[in-house]
């Protein structure tokens, strides 16, 4: 798939090895293989990353899970077609750079997670990730993925 297209749940599950409760992508709105991905994630009280309130603090999503959501969306953007058999090559998260959050996500938020592939070299792929809620950016990070490449990769 090279053109922008919605990705069904079956395809998400075929590409990402993550499973509930650590699958941080509910829906893919648009995906250009090797280039970009826009995904949604609804935050709920049941998410494993929810830090329950103590004292006056309300429950909120740990920022580590924002990174995880961006990383999984980055993997969907950067994933390469499967070899003859088996799962597509999504690689591993090799580095996180310049991670910032503007505010924490809370139950009820729908995260709009964008991942744009900036470039690649030597099996490493640089991806810019952002998370928005209701049009407001709440987090961003530069992610480096290690994705095994083969001749003919896009």
């Amino acid at each position: 798939m090279s053109a922008a297209a919605a990705t069904g749940l079956d395809e998400i599950l075929a590409i990402l090895p993550h499973r509930s409760p650590f699958l941080m992508v509910d829906r893919v709105i648009e995906r250009r293989q090797g280039h970009s991905c826009l995904a949604l994630k609804r935050v709920t009280f049941g998410d494993p990353g929810i830090r329950t309130g103590d004292g006056d603090r309300l429950p909120e999503l740990s920022p580590f899970f924002l990174v995880e959501a961006m990383s999984q969306t980055a993997a969907l953007a950067a994933a390469q077609p499967p070899p003859e058999t088996g799962r597509p090559r999504v690689g591993f998260l090799a580095a996180i750079k310049d991670f910032h959050t503007e505010r924490q996500a809370v139950p009820g938020d729908t995260l709009e997670i964008r991942a744009e592939v900036v470039g690649h070299f030597g099996g490493l792929v640089k991806v810019m990730g952002t998370v928005e809620v209701d049009g407001e950016r709440i987090g961003k990070a530069e992610l480096i993925l290690s994705v095994p490449r083969e001749v003919g990769d896009v």
């Binding site: 580095a95 900036v118 470039g119 070299f121 030597g122 640089k126």
Partner: protein
């Protein structure tokens, strides 16, 4: 090294320092010093950042690791590579 080469070497050193957020001055990078491993101590993630930086700043593309190994041997090697392959836009 000609004056033009020295100016290009300085631009490349500033690019390396800026893209990799190194806390050193350009003068601290020797022109014949290896950039990776024992030299400046850069790693594969730094290489990715430099490849993208060189493409953006000098319009040169390092296609694969074989080319990268030669181009990233030193500042001198990078100057030669950019002169041969690039359009100096910076």
């Amino acid at each position: 090294m000609s004056e033009d080469d020295k100016a290009l070497a300085l631009k490349i050193k500033k690019l390396i320092i800026g893209r990799l957020k190194l806390e050193i001055e350009p003068e601290e990078i020797e022109d014949d010093q290896p950039l990776f491993g024992e030299g400046l101590g850069l790693d594969s993630i730094d290489a990715l950042e430099l490849v993208l930086g060189l493409e953006q700043e000098f319009a040169v593309k390092i296609e694969d690791e074989e080319v990268g190994v030669k181009a990233f041997a030193s500042i001198d090697a990078l100057v030669t590579f950019v002169k041969e392959k690039g359009l100096q836009t910076a």
